[in-house]
Symmetry: C2
Amino acid sequence: MATYEELQRMPMSDLRAEFRSGRYIGHTAAMGAGLLQANLAILPEADAIDFFRFCQRNPKPCPLVGVSDTGDPLMRTLGDIDIRTDVPSYNVYRDGELTEQVPDLKDLWRDDLVAFALGCSFTFERALAEAGLPLRHVEQNKIVSMYKTSIPLVPAGKFGGGTVCSMRPFSPENAERAARISRQFPQAHGAPLHIGDPAKIGVSDIDKPDWGDVTEFRSNEIPVFWACGVTPQNALLRARPTLCITHTPGSMLITDVPEDAEVTVLAPAA
Amino acid sequence: MATYEELQRMPMSDLRAEFRSGRYIGHTAAMGAGLLQANLAILPEADAIDFFRFCQRNPKPCPLVGVSDTGDPLMRTLGDIDIRTDVPSYNVYRDGELTEQVPDLKDLWRDDLVAFALGCSFTFERALAEAGLPLRHVEQNKIVSMYKTSIPLVPAGKFGGGTVCSMRPFSPENAERAARISRQFPQAHGAPLHIGDPAKIGVSDIDKPDWGDVTEFRSNEIPVFWACGVTPQNALLRARPTLCITHTPGSMLITDVPEDAEVTVLAPAA
């Protein structure tokens, strides 16, 4: 059994073999350096076109980076990916209720399922860190603060609800830099949705996040809110599809797509 | 009847009233300054999810900027748009053959139709012009040269084929600037697919475009190839859906979305 530190340093092919075999079922933070990580949502085709529209209409919380053919577990545009096995751990929801947590989907995959991969914040967080912008929750080994907000989503069919934001504290100057850098990653939530005043987006108490840990603010720091991948998770639960399979939070799909790629599609062989 | 020059200067609400009434059925170049223009493809829902996947997988030739609900002619995320009337002229294809050219879809709209809006090159061309990069075909009042290329598309269901590129000549320095500027417009084909050698992308004679006019090259100029909106048009014809409705070439959908917006979706009222 590889240690977490060994997994962090593994080349992607070895790392994927660990996931594929079921030997590792934990989180994927800081693994697969330079590669795009993604949230996963698998739905029956009957719900797929509305969820597709929901993502197209809400590209900041739901940046689509790949969609499988109906019934095909291979997500070829994202690399050598078998979506039945290549995520460390999966959550299975039936009628909106979590019923199982499983290490693979070998027994659950069906001919009518469509898999959606959505970009996640790891991508822009890595870019911020490389630009020398400190991430408090990373420094303190905490989970980023996340909040329900009043920022409306554009509905599509049964999918809708409110936008969930993650929040990171920065000095005003660093907030501007962080906004400029993250805008370059539309596949990973893009620019912040709001900077400065939590009340303006319906957050009444910054010290009471709806998910994650409380964030420590230092003098002169202001909150910077980004659209968060919990948004589509919430929209899925709220819609209560007969079956919905997601990654287990933190345990993401690591793709073969470079995270600074202009488009999140690997070109086919010419 | 407004003149072309009057139409170019009209505010969008008046301009759309001209289109909506059927009084103007011509092209939309240089109209609706600062607003995103789009290619249009309307398909029965049975073909829609595969076309949706086709666009997701080929974002440079097919940058999706809006998708209607099934049967709903109002494209709310793009503004005050009734897709049955708000494009100056429509082409109707049945089983892959052009059968009609009509000024509205009042008699053709059906409950199972889905409308897709795809970004177009007008957006990045305006940005290039504003940056002082001369566009030969605009200066000479010609149609840009377009070529079938060997750059493969990622197929989805019955949709596939090859990438069509438009080509604009620049000095090597201006080519690099044009690449940098256009990369900022993922909703409008993004960065060039190729710069320099037509043979590398399967174009054997630069003086024989497959569509549009021949381009005059001046000393020291090299060809710069961008993915082109003719690509999805071709893929649609090739797939031969029972019904497909597009804009008439040059006669685009002008949206209410600013063409420099980070996302091509107008926020709903909070």
